[in-house]
Amino acid sequence: MEPELTKKERCMLNGECGEGKRQAMEILFALAKIYGAKNMVPITSAQISGVSYKTIGDAGLEYLEDLARKGTKVEVPAYLNPIGMDAQGWEEMKVPKDFAQKQFAILNAYTSMGANPTCTCTPYLIGVRPKVGEHIAWAESSAVVFANSVLGARTNREGGPSALCAAICGVTPNYGMHLDENRVADLVVDVKVALPDRSDFGVLGAIAGGIARGRAVAFKGIKKADEDMLKYLGAAMAAFGSNSLFFMEGITPEWKIRDGAEKISVDKPEMGRMRKTLDETKEEDIVTTGCPHASLAEIKEIAEMVRGKKLKKPLWVCVSRIVKEVAAKQGLVEIIEKAGGKLVADTCMVVSPMEEMGYKSTGVNSAKAVKYLPTMCQQRVHFAKLKDLVEFEGAGKEKVRKK
């Protein structure tokens, strides 16, 4: 059965709306066929990955420039994932010049098609918050989980090109997470341990994601979780298990468990084992946080932690440009910079060329970063709570100092 197209979608496929829209619809139509979608569904926003020059390279750049040259424009608000450097502070970051030039060319191609250069993996922290039941096409894996699970919006795990095509056509194939019948948990995880730190949620996500391997998960036993905690949980689940949806009893807007779903529990010893597995080294050249991008609440906490002190090692707090500007207005950027830290905007430790900046080991509080730093940046990783990673001149680690 071929997917049914509306008159407008058919026009796009036939090339009556230009070559860019024709090619984008051809891709969406093929994907609809592959995944058995009966039709397309209109979307209210798109979030596009494949923006860092480090990940898409010259091939991606040429494709985007070609599409932009054809005069292709997006039909719905479209937001970009992080790029490979701070667009304003790349020289200070010691990003190679030719890398920066290619990166700006990619950004230009996207913006000339009408995409917003938000350069963040957390559009939901800058006001892009689709409502329950709203259809969207997002690509960044951690944002996909957040949108489906915490906001109750509906998106599949798009790739860079498919999210771009959805933005260009304003629709996405109607299958998977867009349909009620697939928004049901097949794995119930009873959490029998307290999760006081954000990094604990990453550890839980790594465990649950690895077991679920793509199946939707329902969590029981978690009494309290703020949005940042849910962000770390979802990011780890996506990184370790290609997950796109979880429920949390009493916390998420949806809660549906399939009859006969597998049931497991997670206890303290298991959390401890996973934490050990994630932690490769106790030494680090640099400490990075903000994977996914840090919220204003996290930045406030960090500012409190470092106020009036001197950091022993470089500290990167990865954020979106918009959140950094808000933090600057509140004086938080100044406090962190005085201590020797940096708010790195538009990018993160994973998609920037860290290995070319002389770093060999990185301290992180994000399980997702543990997954990608070794392969994408050749880093050895120290995984711990942020307060245990941050060290000050004239004192031990924050933890020690407090005793």
Binding site: I27, S49, G57, G159, G160
Partner: protein, 131 residues
């Protein structure tokens, strides 16, 4: 013989087949300059996909693989056409943006009747394979 299939990317090509039962990643496993498979231990290691009707089960690995297929095409070393058992996103998107004709879900198992070196015609306008 003529076998029907599902059209993923339209077009037409005719040439010698290169067949593998192993999935292929176009990011890291195929040299974009030469089209030679460089993945250690892959059945096709050392062989070039350039100018071949490439028959394999499905793609694997990073979605950036789609862009690498376009790079192969621009370097003149892309496969002439692709036949998959069942298409997935990476290869499908790569084939469409690179204008490489592609079919999947043939009515007969392609591994049963397409052998290495055999000249195969892929008509991805009408959805048929002839050899």
């Amino acid at each position: 013989m003529i076998v029907k299939g599902r059209v993923i990317a339209r077009g037409y090509a005719k040439g010698p087949a290169l067949v593998t039962m192993q999935p292929i990643s176009f990011l890291g496993s195929v040299d974009p300059k030469t089209g030679i498979v460089i993945e250690k231990g892959h059945e096709l290691e050392g062989k070039s996909v350039a100018g071949r009707i490439l028959v394999f089960p499905r793609g694997k690995g990073s979605t950036v693989g789609s862009y690498m297929m376009l790079q192969l095409k621009k370097n003149g070393v892309a496969p002439l056409a692709i036949i998959n058992l069942e298409a997935e996103t990476i290869i499908a998107v790569g084939a469409i943006i690179s204008k490489i004709p592609m079919l999947d879900m043939l009515e007969e198992d392609p591994f049963s009747f397409i052998k290495n070196g055999m000249v195969v015609e892929v008509d991805a306008e009408r959805g048929i394979v002839r050899c």
